[in-house]
Symmetry: C2
Subunit: 338 residues, 2 copies
Amino acid sequence: MAIDQTIGMQSIQFQNSPYIISSASVVGPKEGEGPLGEYFDLVAPDAGLGEQTWEQAESTMQKEALQTAMEKAKLTLPQIRYLFGGDLLAQLIATSFGNGETNIPLFGLYGACSTCGESLALAAMIVAGGYADYAAALTSSHFGSAEKEFRFPLGYGNQRPLSATWTVTGSGAFILSAQKSHVRVCGVTPGRIVDMGVKDNMNMGACMAPAACDTIYQNFMDFNRQPQDYDRIVTGDLGTIGQKLLIQLLKEKGFDISQQHMDCGIEVYDAEKQDTHAGGSGCGCSAVVLAALILPKLRQGVWKRVLFVPTGALLSKVSFNEGRSIPGIAHAVVLEHC
Amino acid sequence: MAIDQTIGMQSIQFQNSPYIISSASVVGPKEGEGPLGEYFDLVAPDAGLGEQTWEQAESTMQKEALQTAMEKAKLTLPQIRYLFGGDLLAQLIATSFGNGETNIPLFGLYGACSTCGESLALAAMIVAGGYADYAAALTSSHFGSAEKEFRFPLGYGNQRPLSATWTVTGSGAFILSAQKSHVRVCGVTPGRIVDMGVKDNMNMGACMAPAACDTIYQNFMDFNRQPQDYDRIVTGDLGTIGQKLLIQLLKEKGFDISQQHMDCGIEVYDAEKQDTHAGGSGCGCSAVVLAALILPKLRQGVWKRVLFVPTGALLSKVSFNEGRSIPGIAHAVVLEHC
């Protein structure tokens, strides 16, 4: 019989924790100019990355991120057994066109900006289950392709309210394996859809905060933990407005995470200097901040345990135009120094 | 250490096969009038299912399919630990809005029409890995929402070439568990992207046949099997043109599957009477045919072993309008009577 690895209502605690043995981040020039600029593996001099379209540029970032992560781990493509990948675009075209040449069997994932968490959770479960020696998790977003997909053509030059976030042009890749490294995935709390009826696609933080609250609360319950059991609780892209909401929502449930909370969307830009309003967003946002900032701190042992919770707003232009709400989802991954 | 369950280049052979303990199919009126009409669990009298939009109608089919599958298995929502779900729409809105009320942690998946195979493969791996007592796989498609998403508004009344397929209005749900039943998932062969440069979105069979060939060939290699080791080799929605191509492509690789091959897209409609041209398609197509036709034959032992291979065309209107090709992907699941 299989080993029971379930814990609480919706979490997994691995009997044999898989490790993140390698990671890489590729970003555009705006992200390179931000406070984390020096920590990214590759900063493209141009957001077009020499391609004809924003979508192709995004695919190219995925290729570069995966290639860099593989090189760091001294692996070749055929050694990666399965790839868990996704992006924000309709029908995941950044992922489809970015990974055709790799020949790695692909599980296409969509969880909006939570996809980085979804891909890490599944890759970890698959490696810990003995289904792959090496699995890769890969996500991306691009400001140009995302604005086109969800909002207005860039040439239209619409004004953005202060609650809006700026989609990160970037891709993060992670290689998971049973092979020991200094960061392990100890557990996951896959999230459920939480819809509080918010309809404002220029305030994604408000759409996602209730889902982040739900997943973090469930993680505390399932693992029987308190906020201080984590050095950092890192959400994906709530931004400044979503951060306030999340802290308040969790306070109402009896948990104060104000000392531990960090948001990748707030970290990635200098909002004032870079005019990014509420912060960065996109499933590239949490991915590049994980690769560039969080994993190095864990590797060095500066942080011992981090709850990484990418957050997604399940928005489409069709549902938005039909007047539907924007449900949220968040997938949590427990990372530990070892 | 985890048990090594990998086999060959890209397959898994389960040490502890999970079982499909329950399934359900919900379809629209056109599918109800087709040759499999009497086998579906629920035939809606109207393709709108009483909803305001095609997208909401698709969400409602997902809800009904999951509910029906749960009732058959005598399960309640909280017993389903994880849901693996997807559809064809941008940002998976049929799935997001169909499953918010279930409160089941959701892994959103996108593999175009191959998503039924992707969801079954992951659900099987997660149950066999001891991560869930019960997991559900759920996919859907809808003729109205798909035409709007990928081609022309229905009101435009465009002519369809004979190579075109008709998107199935339907949803299929499957409950997987370690609890014994008469159909088990013995293995999976997750597929990789195959892009032969086909650009015709009115000939999806030609886009997907090379990917189906690649996955089936790899399954034969990894499991060291011949076509006659399967009672049926069932593709998702190649249709009549894709079927010819697949059989020819596999002949060129030394395998004749003409005796074993069946295609869900060909089975679901009476193409001549129902004017569906090359056949049915969509990630509801393979799902409802699996639930209504294939699983009952396996349960009864009429067929002992089936290779189920949903096929996907990784198309989006953005990539299509940018002149890109339509890559294919196919995920295979080995099903056995027991």
